[in-house]
């Protein structure tokens, strides 16, 4: 088992190295560089950059050097924990991401807890009471939830919250707390702002999870071990929770792999629409602006998170599923 873990760990490290190269290549793929994007952006908004400015900017950012030199320089910094400086934000990349990372994690986690908190009981109910009236209700709702893109929902909710309540739309803080240092009041303010984006973020996932849970559980409910448990004289609720639910939950361990990068990026589109200061929009902007180190670091971070997520999901699977634990070697 230790050998297995060690092997996975070594593979993970190799994958991360590969990801760093890929991340850099991906960032370099689009034509032009940060300065080009910068010039185009300014020109379209009625300002201009001259040839001279462009030249000095390129020199400043080291964009006049060959790509591999840029990569080596970046990597040599990354290895000591310095991810370079964002060209657009003029701050160390770690700092730019750091601010948003925590908010993203808080938001994604609350969305996630909401998703699980709603979806699992409903999914279980729907499976156990398959074809009951409530099952049909939940099924219809979850199909709607699956079909409506959640950014559209975000837009509609935003529009109506403005029309009906004149509410300030988007964001995670009231304007008075935007500037304030962290305090209990600010945390409370954040908590007040969390529900709407968290609900919207959670919605599509919830619908999907209900469907998955229902299908998984329906599968499990038909298995003979459920009959065995019933035949022992176990109360029905205990039968369901101890056996099929436990088994139906198993596939969720593998979703941890996807969960981790999601925790970091949040939903890009929803964050954009709701103007949430999360990592997702930052990545989008960095890519559009060709802010190399910032985009590279986020892509790298997402890659690393996927690798770590996969690794952890393997470990969790190993922990929850004795079959994997014993059949690994």
């Amino acid at each position: 088992m230790l050998a297995y873990i060690a092997r996975r760990a070594v593979l993970a490290v190799l994958t991360m190295a590969a990801i760093s190269v890929f991340a850099f290549i991906i960032i370099q793929l689009p034509p032009g560089d940060f300065v080009d994007a910068y010039i185009a952006n300014l020109s379209a908004s009625g300002s201009s950059v001259s040839m001279e400015e462009a030249k000095s900017l390129r020199a400043l950012y080291g964009l006049d050097q060959p790509v591999y030199v840029q990569y080596m320089k970046w990597m040599s910094r990354v290895l000591v924990g310095d991810f370079g400086e964002s060209m657009e934000w003029h701050r160390p990349v770690a700092e730019v991401i750091g601010d948003r990372l925590w908010l993203t994690i808080v938001l994604s986690l609350s969305a996630l807890m909401l998703t699980w908190g709603i979806a699992l009981p409903i999914g279980i109910y729907s499976a156990v009471r398959q074809y009951s009236a409530l099952d049909y209700v939940f099924t219809s709702i979850s199909f709607i939830g699956l079909a409506v893109p959640n950014f559209l929902l975000a837009l509609v909710i935003m529009y109506f919250s403005f029309v009906l309540f004149g509410a300030n739309v988007g964001g995670l803080f009231s304007s008075e707390f935007d500037l304030a240092p962290w305090s209990l009041a600010k945390v409370w303010d954040l908590i007040k702002h969390l529900p709407l984006p968290a609900v919207i973020l959670a919605l599509a996932g919830t619908a999907q999870l209900i469907r998955i849970m229902r299908a998984n559980l329906l599968d499990e409910l038909r298995k003979p071990y459920v009959v065995t448990a019933r035949a022992k004289g176990m109360p029905e609720a205990r039968v369901i929770w101890k056996y099929p639910v436990r088994a139906a939950l198993n596939p969720f361990a593998s979703t941890i792999a996807y969960l981790f990068p999601y925790l970091v990026s949040g939903s890009i589109i929803i964050s954009l629409v709701l103007s949430l200061p999360t990592v997702g929009p930052l990545l989008l902007k960095a890519l559009i602006a060709q802010d190399m180190f910032l985009a590279g670091t986020i892509v790298l971070l997402l890659g690393v998170m996927t690798v770590i997520g996969t690794f952890i999901s393997d470990l969790v699977l190993m922990w929850v599923d004795p079959r994997i634990r014993f059949q690994m070697d």
Partner: protein
């Protein structure tokens, strides 16, 4: 790519929602002027006669508190002996309030820079046509045009209270501009005829710019949004170091010259910079460094790279109102980060901003108007002065396909393309009928305008004439679908039009133009592109037609690149010619078209013309050729598409009914936001 899809969806949703808007909002076109949305160009009046200047000064209550506490000198010591005196548009205002605005992050730095644009040496009056003093009290130009003297205001101070003197100009020139580590190459603004000029201190408040060749355009440059005249806020941020002055007393500590390279590098390392150059670029950037002394009405107190960019009153601001009250009236400007411009629009409609023109989309006008009452704001439409928001730049140096190049460089072909465009349809669809169809020539309001007939020349739909021209140049054969065919291989002649979704939905507009061109038998292949890809392609001379704005051309000499291919950074009409021109013939390719050569000659001759009036005439000549040749095809302009939809809180006073939104006016700064106030 993803983003543009999203925005498209958002936009269409909003348009969909706007269907609920009452009918009155639907058709502003014909009665635009009568609608009250477009007013007259106006702003505060500068009082230049010292006799009319106020004798005593007022100040904001919070500053008065600081004075009382001994933390700040009294206002009379802070305001220069020769202040800039402005008579506010309507009335003397009141102090206080926070101006709420939206911005899109550090990339949107111009959002704040423009509020501070009065830190330019010279500026424009509210009509955007007359040069007026700003940081400089006055200026003189020698008869030979080789020396320009700038007179500073006596007793003027930086935002930290240090005196602002001629030394700050010399410091900029010698220690920053001339330092190859900081500025790689001299700029044309400072080197007429290729000979570098210099900056000389005459006395504490007098500076001279001295050149070996006549530089009659230099005063215009100082007033324009140019490298030399742009001012400290904009030209010394984002890694560039132009403008004409810099706070010596503060910045010298970051230069090797004033200690040693090792010392500044060590400090740079300690503060987390790679080297001293990077540190300097950060330290001299007002939007990041809150310690940097500046001259603008507001200074950064919370940097741009945070969710809220906060600007607070400069206690040493050097302008007062006609009653002697130190400006600005408004305490604070808070720019809140929005992750997307859609959010800015929605928040503006929700009344969450006090004045927002930047990123407000013309297509949302119906919804914006519908919610005026509820949002507590009023809408002003500021019409642009340049000729064409959507311009088809035809690449004259294209050579990848000889047949296509042959037609692109044929004047009659270009004229036919222009006459094949139904500009009214474009205007109604994309400008809600608010824009003015026409050529690339600027508004007749501008002194360089060649006249109304050139707004219209070859710029009205005339299918018959267009077909006649095309037949005349030998494109007579058509394929089964009615498209004209190439003369070399008989296949359909396809013209590539590359378009970016930026200021306006250019790809969709290009599609519409392509549809219109069916009637003249021309097949347009519209290629929607990501912005950087498009500009990179144009720089590599790969495009045939590029769709872009010709904004900034209302004053040709200050920003010629959207009118004439002179700057390789953006030279959609002929990248190779621009390279040739900018390198003085060392690189690139010389044009053979005599008309194009004539334009270059005229353009060069202007800098030798002493009188502004003569230079304007030259510009008119250039415009006439440009319109006649149709190197760039104009469609619809003089519109509020580019930050001309202004949403202003009803609580604000001294707001002009129309503001100049041209590039050189540094919207909204030419209407002097420091005179606005909360009623």
């Amino acid at each position: 790519m993803k983003k543009s899809v999203l925005l498209g969806v958002c936009a269409s949703l909003l348009v969909g929602l706007s269907a609920f808007a009452p009918a009155q909002a639907q058709q502003p076109s014909a009665n635009l002027m009568a609608s009250g949305l477009v007013g007259k160009l106006e702003g505060p009046e500068l009082i230049l006669d010292p006799a009319k200047w106020p004798k005593s000064f007022g100040e904001a209550p919070d500053l008065a508190e600081l004075v009382k506490a001994g933390k700040l000198p009294p206002v009379k010591d802070r305001v220069p002996a020769e202040p800039l005196v402005m008579k506010p548009l309507s009335e003397v205002g009141k102090y206080g309030g926070t101006w709420r605005r939206g911005f899109l992050g550090p990339g949107d730095w111009e959002n704040g820079n423009r509020l501070n644009a009065s830190d330019k040496l010279l500026f424009w009056d509210p009509t955007g046509t007359k040069i007026v003093p700003s940081v400089a009290k006055s200026w003189e130009q020698s008869a030979d045009g080789k020396v320009i003297r700038v007179n500073l205001r006596k007793g003027m101070k930086w935002s930290d209270g240090a005196p602002f003197t001629a030394d700050d100009f010399v410091f900029w020139f010698e220690d920053l501009y001339s330092n190859k580590d900081i500025v790689a190459a001299p700029i044309p603004d400072m080197s007429p005829g290729g000979k570098p000029g210099k900056v000389v201190k005459v006395d504490e408040t007098t500076v001279e710019f001295q050149f070996e060749n006549p530089h009659f355009l230099f005063v215009d440059f100082l007033a324009g949004d140019t490298l030399i005249g742009g001012g400290q806020s904009v030209r010394q941020s984002q890694g560039t170091t132009f403008g004409a002055y810099s706070p010596k007393h503060y910045l010298k500590q970051f230069l090797p010259k004033y200690s040693s390279e090792a010392q500044v590098n060590e400090r740079a390392k300690a503060e987390g910079f790679e080297n001293w150059v990077k540190m300097l670029h950060f330290k001299k950037d007002w939007s990041f460094n809150t310690e940097l002394p500046t001259l603008g009405p507001w200074k950064t107190t919370r940097p741009i790279n945070t969710p809220t960019w906060v600007l607070e009153r400069n206690p040493y601001y050097w302008a007062v109102d006609s009653a002697g009250n130190q400006l600005p009236y408004i305490d604070k400007v808070v720019l809140t980060l929005a992750e997307d411009s859609e959010v800015i629009n929605l928040r503006a409609i929700g009344g969450n901003y006090d004045m927002q023109e930047r990123h407000i989309s013309l297509s949302k006008l119906p919804v914006i108007l519908e919610n005026q009452q509820k949002g507590g704001y009023k809408v002003h439409l500021d019409l642009a002065l340049h000729g064409s928001d959507t311009t088809l730049f035809i690449n004259q140096s294209f050579k990848a396909d000889a047949e296509v190049a042959k037609w692109l460089t044929n004047a009659d072909f270009r004229r036919a393309l222009s006459m094949g465009i139904d500009r009214n349809q474009l205007n109604d669809t994309f400008w809600l009928g608010i824009g003015t169809p026409g050529s690339v020539a600027p508004s007749v309001q501008m002194p360089q305008s060649p006249g109304k007939e050139y707004r219209d020349k070859y710029s009205k739909l005339d299918i018959a004439k267009a077909n006649q021209l095309l037949d005349g140049i030998g494109l007579t054969k058509k394929d089964s679908e009615g498209y004209r065919v190439r003369t070399d291989n008989g296949e359909r002649l396809r013209i590539q039009v590359q378009a970016v979704k930026a200021l306006l939905p250019w790809p969709q507009q290009a599609e519409m133009i392509g549809e219109q061109w069916r009637k003249i038998g021309i097949q347009a292949d519209v290629r929607e592109m990501e912005r950087t890809l498009a500009t990179t392609r144009t720089r590599n001379n790969e495009h045939q037609i590029m769709v872009w704005t010709n904004g900034g051309t209302e004053l040709l000499y200050l920003f010629p690149r959207h009118a004439i291919p002179v700057d390789p950074t953006e030279a959609y009409m002929g990248p190779e010619f621009a390279t040739w021109y900018a390198s003085n013939g060392a690189q690139g390719r010389a044009p053979t078209d005599p008309q194009m050569l004539k334009i270059y000659d005229l353009f060069k001759s202007a800098s030798g013309q002493r009188e502004a009036g003569d230079r304007d005439k030259t510009a008119q000549e250039i415009w006439k050729i440009l319109v006649d040749q149709q190197y760039a095809i104009g469609t619809v302009g003089e519109s509020p598409a580019q930050f001309g939809v202004r949403i202003v809180s009803t609580k604000l006073g001294n707001i002009p009914s129309r503001a100049c939104i041209a590039q050189h006016c540094r919207t909204p700064s030419s209407s002097h936001a420091e005179t606005w106030y909360f009623k």
